[in-house]
Symmetry: C2
Subunit: 363 residues, 2 copies
Amino acid sequence: MAAIADCPPLTRESVQKAHEIVRKHVHLTPVVTNTTLNNIASTPQSADALEITEYKGRTPAKPKIRFFFKCENLQRIGAFKVRGAFHAISRLPEEVRRKGIVTHSSGNHAQATALAAKTFGIQAHVIMPKISTPSKVEATKALGANVHFSGSTAPEREAVTNKVLGTLEPGAVILPPYDHPDIILGQGTLALEFEQQVEDLGSKLDAVIGPCGGGGMLSGTATALHGTGIRVYGAEPMHEGANDAQRGLAQGSRITDVSTLTIADGLRTPLGEITWSVISDKEKVRGLFSVTEEQIKAAMKLLMERAKLFVEPSACVGLAVALFNEDFRSLVEKEAGEDGWNVGIILTGGNTTIDAIIKLFST
Amino acid sequence: MAAIADCPPLTRESVQKAHEIVRKHVHLTPVVTNTTLNNIASTPQSADALEITEYKGRTPAKPKIRFFFKCENLQRIGAFKVRGAFHAISRLPEEVRRKGIVTHSSGNHAQATALAAKTFGIQAHVIMPKISTPSKVEATKALGANVHFSGSTAPEREAVTNKVLGTLEPGAVILPPYDHPDIILGQGTLALEFEQQVEDLGSKLDAVIGPCGGGGMLSGTATALHGTGIRVYGAEPMHEGANDAQRGLAQGSRITDVSTLTIADGLRTPLGEITWSVISDKEKVRGLFSVTEEQIKAAMKLLMERAKLFVEPSACVGLAVALFNEDFRSLVEKEAGEDGWNVGIILTGGNTTIDAIIKLFST
């Protein structure tokens, strides 16, 4: 991994340069629209629906919303994570790269790193928690990575990471899953495409909502769109405090410990130092909004049944905010008025299974 | 409905003209590729997997296949059917059209007709079987159509159709779901896009596999691609004789009665007279292949979990043929040799629900 001091600055121009590097390795994923979801979003929620929420008694907002969905679920390995992995590994000098890459992830970053390493003909070592979904472990191995198991806590993970590093040539680098400029800039490339693809459809985005876990993708998106006039918002699950970015902003300092089992399993991680610095900058990210587990499930059902998009729970929080979060909906009503907004929703990934869907919706 | 004698001939040029009419009303649906599915298709099935099939004892074929998926599940109303409906209604003279349109369908054609009628500001009357899925009835009504219920047999349906026609001005027309040139030409427009989109990706289709129910879409595809060198094949479920096209070809005459409850519910219908004339023409459709219910489910699971595409069972028969039908796979091995083929798979629709998926995969 390039030392942070050697990385390009977090600017739109750096994202554009990252895009030149990344574009040949990733799919230009489609942007789709959906009239039914526009209609649902542009209809006030019923007072009854609000009755069981924190918005009880409020007059439901009447925003006008036209959606554009950026389908990173159709990306290679089924998630945007390949963008950051290809960018970061591309930028490593050949002599560093060939010592091997070490990373830790229970999910999409594991497969992304494995694919990028395989493409460059180098060895990836991925530390995964013992409790990882077997299908994700298998997929990572199938891409040629060396999988090492650890316990689920940070110290347990670091112990295994150090042990693995000890077996490699000195100078082998750790590829962090989100808190690194090269990763952030790589993930931000999806936002450049999104902006252009909506223009190609004859429209212009007014706002974009992206899910926020460790914050790499949201930081990259905010960096890519800074200065364009397109407003960037973050979406988080609120279950068991998973909305650490929102809570951190409220208290004025980063929250570093989160322990949540939200169904949006890609969003269980707290922000890192660098991603916090971007996301807590109001000029870059206008606000964070959070949603309940039931709202995530409802958004997932709508994305599948109405938009025919196969998405994982983490990918659904942005739509859930636009449909169900009255704070966000009032904001759109107020700021956009009669014209309404073209709202871009980043669908981050589709790595779920039919078995997981059965489990999720049978309970 | 234009009298059949007044319709354009079933030629590629007519499909091109239909595309000029239809393109402004429909989405240009994406074409996607998937390395994992290419690898699965290009790996011989295990001898064990063949053990429980009609291919028991055969040496598994070793075809090389690169897939391109035409995502009509992302089409308006979630299926290709809007193409035929918009084309047919567009070609009606204004004075005929405004008398209203009558059709019958339990599925995607119902919603397609409702949407096209709504767009032209005319009334659609849709005869649906009493046993139709409630969500499909609701969706059709939500698009402004007048839904009339009938029994499930053809005579019961015709009785209700005639009753409804009796309430309309003389000259109101019936829009058949597939067996009409205007419908066939409209559906064929997807194949023109498919051909061009694969060229835009720098490749060229060698073959296309399309599902075959009533045969409108398959006939339209064969018509659109006739003379291009792209081979067209049809895919059917074999459950309870649903493979009427294949069986009809074997016996040399059209099969008109089919009674099957295959999970591919869009493919339960037998061919019509016109679609039979196209599909039985070896110059247009090179062959028909059929698959089991388990193979359809396996293809559906792969499309969702690996390609992240939300598809209904009927959309999965083409992939099932390419992955599991040894007759087709041997043909590709023999005809394509070392080069392999670029095989286009038409994903016809995505109108299923999470409840239906739970029912399908929990048993």
